[in-house]
């Protein structure tokens, strides 16, 4: 077994123990990217000399010598982010983004840049200036977006951890589709400096994508700049809602999530409570409106007349459509935000976490991202935003954890908690891993089960 197949914390511990040489680990990661990446297009750029320099200068921090991937949404000192697109609508350039500094200061080695959906505008990851990333569980399926590359890279075990960004579910979707654990932190808690929307966006956060919760805790601690201490989720009060987010889902997803919720309850000695949380779909639309109007800051009719022809027709058309969104709807969306934040205060007085499926169906085909639900056929984006938007709208943390497989593709449960309870979500995710014997966090896609060529 290669050291690359260890967990993130396992790699860090093996380096500290002198069992693994970090320079060799970096070389192995680069070799594995060269070997496996052509099938999934998860990593869009490597820079071996920069990575080696980073390792040479790395402090002996908690991630010393561990290779990681960072999404194409974060600038690096030697590389401007491209946001998965031929053209961005905000100024961009190389620089020290917050996540870069967090990784550097923790001693990690950035081994490559992860692909992402063009302009961060979809839950699928099936469009990018670099070409789509593919799902390691089935390369003809969507890896999830917009942090498609980070998700696919970790699922294929190119690296054990990656940094994404989540403005409307963009860490949780790839975590769900790729069978990973992905944490969307409380708004403002994780490093955000240097993002082209920092100070403008009220929905985007950085966060970790890893195989399991303990690795998310380690990588998340670096991004938070504070240790995310482990605790025990004893007596967990789990809230469930009877709404489209939990009911209008594929039968296999419904059953796996219901089983996981019951397993979590039993493991923590807790209880499941049905709670009232109305207008979740309206909240999702409000999130979309807010995120898309905040993104208008760089657009003007003159700019739209000169769009790069290499932008996809969807990106060009949608950029123009966004200019037509009524201001009254954006103002109303802000009031919905206030309403939902207050409703969540009431809900979290009764429960510790709210659970529903991260996405209502498994990863759809790359070339036709549609999902079949009890209500009919929907685009994946239309269906996925329903359950993801609330956390971005209100600022609460959320985590996606793998809880099953259907048709060889991962199923995921989302847990959401009150503001600042990120640690509780990690504790709950670990409790769920114990409950199912770590069956799903240790499941590997076919690509990650490949034998290394000699010398790797």
């Amino acid at each position: 077994m290669s050291a690359l197949d260890l967990t993130l914390r396992g790699q860090a511990a093996a380096i500290v123990a002198g069992e693994v040489d970090p320079a060799q680990l970096l070389d192995q990661a680069l070799e594995r990217i060269a070997q496996r990446n052509p099938e999934i297009n998860a990593v869009v750029e490597t820079f071996p000399e920069r990575s080696r320099q980073m390792l040479e200068e790395a402090p002996r921090g908690p991630l010393y010598g561990v290779p990681v991937v960072i999404k194409d949404e974060w600038p690096l000192p030697w590389r401007a982010q491209r946001f998965g697109a031929a053209e961005m609508f905000s100024p961009t350039g190389p620089g020290e983004s917050g996540p870069y500094r967090a990784l550097r200061d923790a001693g990690a080695t950035i081994v490559g840049v992860g692909n992402m959906h063009e302009l961060g505008a979809s839950s699928t990851g099936n469009a990018s200036v670099y070409g789509p990333a593919c799902n390691p569980w089935n390369p003809e399926r969507c890896p999830g977006g917009s942090s498609s590359g980070p998700g696919a890279a970790v699922a294929a075990r190119l690296v054990a951890g990656a940094v994404g960004a989540d403005g409307i579910g963009s860490i949780r979707f790839p975590a769900a589709y790729c069978g990973l654990t992905g944490l969307k932190p409380t708004f403002g808690r994780a490093a955000m400096d240097g993002h082209h929307m920092a100070g403008v966006s009220s929905t985007i956060v950085s966060g970790p994508l890893c195989a399991d919760a303990a690795d998310c805790r380690l990588l998340g601690s670096a991004l938070f700049g504070a240790s995310l201490e482990a605790g025990e989720a004893r007596g967990l009060r789990i809230g469930v809602v009877r709404d489209t987010v939990s009911e209008d889902v594929a039968p296999a997803v419904h059953d796996a999530c219901a089983e996981a919720i019951e397993a979590l309850r039993a493991e923590t000695g807790g209880e499941v409570r049905e709670i009232a949380l109305a207008d979740i779909e309206l909240a999702a639309l409000a999130t979309v409106l807010i995120a898309n109007t905040e993104g208008l800051i760089g657009l003007s009719p003159e700019r739209l007349a000169k769009l790069d022809p290499a932008l996809s027709p969807i990106a060009r058309g949608f950029a123009k459509y966004r200019m037509l969104l009524p201001a009254a709807a954006s103002v109303k969306a802000q009031r919905i935000r206030t309403l939902m934040r207050r409703r969540l205060v009431t809900a979290f007085a009764d429960v510790d976490a709210i659970a529903w499926p991260t996405v209502p169906a498994v990863a759809p085909p790359l070339d036709a991202p549609l999902v079949e639900l009890p209500s009919g056929t929907l685009t994946a984006d239309q269906a996925n935003v329903r359950g993801a938007g609330l956390a971005n709208l209100t600022g609460i943390p959320a985590i996606s954890v793998p809880v099953g497989l259907a048709d060889g593709l991962p199923i995921a449960l989302q847990l959401q908690a009150a503001w600042g309870d990120d640690e509780l979500l990690l504790d709950a995710a670990e409790a769920l891993e114990r409950a199912n014997g770590r069956r799903w966090v240790e499941s590997l896609p076919p690509l990650a089960r490949q034998t290394e060529p000699t010398g790797a």
Binding site: F187, L285, A305, I314, L325, R342, V345
Partner: protein, 67 residues
């Protein structure tokens, strides 16, 4: 007067008012986006928020300070 969901009314007028040109494919994309978003936007605009007091200087990292 009833609201219209018809993209062929709304989109050309909106683009013309801003002086934005769009090709046939972009118009098709905008039409699809419109059919997806507009019904929800109309519902949102009708949603009664009169009883929801504003949250001044909301800090999204924290629960709301007023209820």
């Amino acid at each position: 007067m009833e609201a219209s969901n018809r993209a062929d009314d709304f989109i050309p007028a909106g683009l013309a008012s801003l002086g934005i040109e769009a090709d046939e494919i972009e118009l098709a994309v905008m039409g699809a986006a419109h059919s997806l978003f507009w019904p929800g936007i109309l519902d949102l605009l009708e949603f009664d928020t009169d009883g929801v007091a504003p949250e001044p200087r909301a800090d999204l990292s924290m629960p709301p300070q007023t209820t």
